[in-house]
């Protein structure tokens, strides 16, 4: 699963009276199979917009997104997404949330195969015992684990994550990051991951490359920083690695220099 983003532009008009905001300004990015790439930047830099364009939820004004040689025109099961607000359907149980998504996204697989995937990933995120609960009955961390299981169970080659752990406390976040790496590394069909984040340490811990995005009116992609840390990475010992310090310093410098002049929501 390779992902190519060619000269993508996207503008939004907040209302009829204000001029449109040019959120994505000529984004070029190539992600190769097996890579974990993080998009980082301030609010309003367009990182979530770019993810939505790759997902096929938004159409770019210009440019194109190509996945495995095919241009993206609509959402598809090859690009499952984990949303910022968990986005579980509130009247369905944990199990039904995953099962209905898998059933709808993968009609090509038999019912047995789909059920097997649902069960496997709910076990993998430790929610099989809680499968009959409604989203409102479980914690935010458990809801996001359900959303992660839902995305993996569809068996996407490319996984899109939109600030998946932003709303969670630090301990829950650390646990989920580890689970995510485990699932991506060995236990799934997912090869490539594109993750939006605003956590510098999270980006370094998880990503092979970090795409730093700039605020308007600059070109969208400010820099692409490789993370030369061997896997598996350990969040405790990693901090003492000079390579970690160097990447962290570069990111910090880029992002503080790029402090937003006018904050605007993407």
């Amino acid at each position: 699963m390779s992902l190519e983003i060619h000269a993508v532009h996207k503008s939004f008009a907040a209302s009829r009276s204000t001029p449109p905001q040019h959120v994505l300004r000529g984004v070029d990015l190539t992600v190769t199979t097996g890579e974990f790439v993080s998009l980082i930047g301030h609010s309003g830099c367009g990182k979530s917009t770019l993810l939505n364009v790759v997902a096929g939820l938004l159409r770019p004004d210009a440019g194109r997104v190509v996945v495995d040689g095919r241009p993206v025109t609509e959402p598809g099961p090859d690009r499952a997404m984990v949303f910022q607000n968990y986005s579980l359907l509130p009247r369905l149980s944990v199990l039904a949330n995953v099962r209905e998504a898998v059933k709808a996204a993968r009609p090509d697989r038999s019912r047995e195969v789909n059920d097997e995937h649902v069960e496997r990933y709910l076990h993998a995120v430790g929610l099989w015992e809680h499968r009959d609960k409604r989203p409102a009955q479980i914690s935010g961390g458990m809801q996001q684990r359900t959303a992660v299981a839902r995305a993996f169970a569809v068996g996407p080659k490319l996984l899109l994550l939109d600030e998946p752990f932003g709303a969670l406390d630090a301990l829950t976040r650390a646990k989920l990051q580890a689970q995510l790496v485990g699932l991506w590394g060995q236990e799934s069909d997912t090869e490539t991951v594109l993750m939006v984040t605003h956590g510098i340490d999270e980006a370094i811990l998880l990503a092979d490359r970090i795409v730093v995005m700039a605020n308007p009116p600059h070109a969208s992609v400010l820099d692409v920083i490789p993370v030369p840390l061997a896997r598996p990475r350990d969040r405790v010992t990693m901090v003492d690695d000079p390579a970690f310090r160097e990447v962290q310093a570069r990111l910090m410098a880029l992002l503080t220099a790029e402090a937003p002049e006018a904050t605007s929501a993407a």
């Binding site: 939820l57 959402p75 986005s87 509130p90």
Partner: protein, 289 residues
Amino acid sequence: MTMLHDDVIDLTAAPSQPPTEEGPPPPSTSPWRRRAASLGWAMAGVTVVLGLWHLAALRSPDLPTPAEGLGELWALVGDPFYDNGPNDKGIGLQLAISLQRVFTGFALAALVGVPLGLLIGASRRAWQAVNPLVQVLRPVSPLAWFPILLTVLRDAGKAAVFVVFITALWPTVVNTAAGVAGVPLDHRNVARVYRFGRLAFVRHVLLPDSLPSIVAGLRLSMGIGWMVIVAAEMLSGGAGIGFFVWNSYNASDLSAVIAAIVLVGAVGYTLDALFLRLGRRFSTEEVHR
């Protein structure tokens, strides 16, 4: 995400929902004391109104006193189902006739209004086609339709049913459309990313998310349908609680009118309470953030 918002309709014109009946709970200790206090204040309110009414009745001899009105109510309720021909029926029979008309008109309005609301909530074009009509027809007093309906249907009872239908239609349509337009973008995106089919979308996203609003619309419709049937039957004559009110007035029996008002209020309150419970059943639990 402007592009996705293109499908979403601005429903600022929708009627706002009435505030919930419950005021802030009084800072009391035990639930029993709280209930007793709330009952006591309710009795105090009723007593004040009855007292004022009594004073007014003393000054105006044509107005029955509370005792006369409530005595008449007791007599009417005591023998609700007698039938001495078209001009003399028990109050229970009159209420049953009115209720039947309201339910018929309301059911027709729900049958037409919910699908129409779903359509105009989901399609911008349908919204643009229907919205001007709704906005112009909604403020028209439903009774204004009565002459047309009476001419076309040639039956006062049927005309009354259709007056209720027209009355009940707008809140159902507008609230259903608002419910559809209010389906969270997150849920729409989930349905798109995981490629929900039409059926799965309606079953798992559209209906669960818009049902509370639909039920609220039905509740409003039922409420004003019940209000309008009294007026429509005063015009149509023949049968029903509205006819009973007008007939009692013509017989100079204001006590019966007062008794009828109390009964109409009680029935309306019961209908509303039923819909409120229905609405609570369908309201979605909040998702933790």
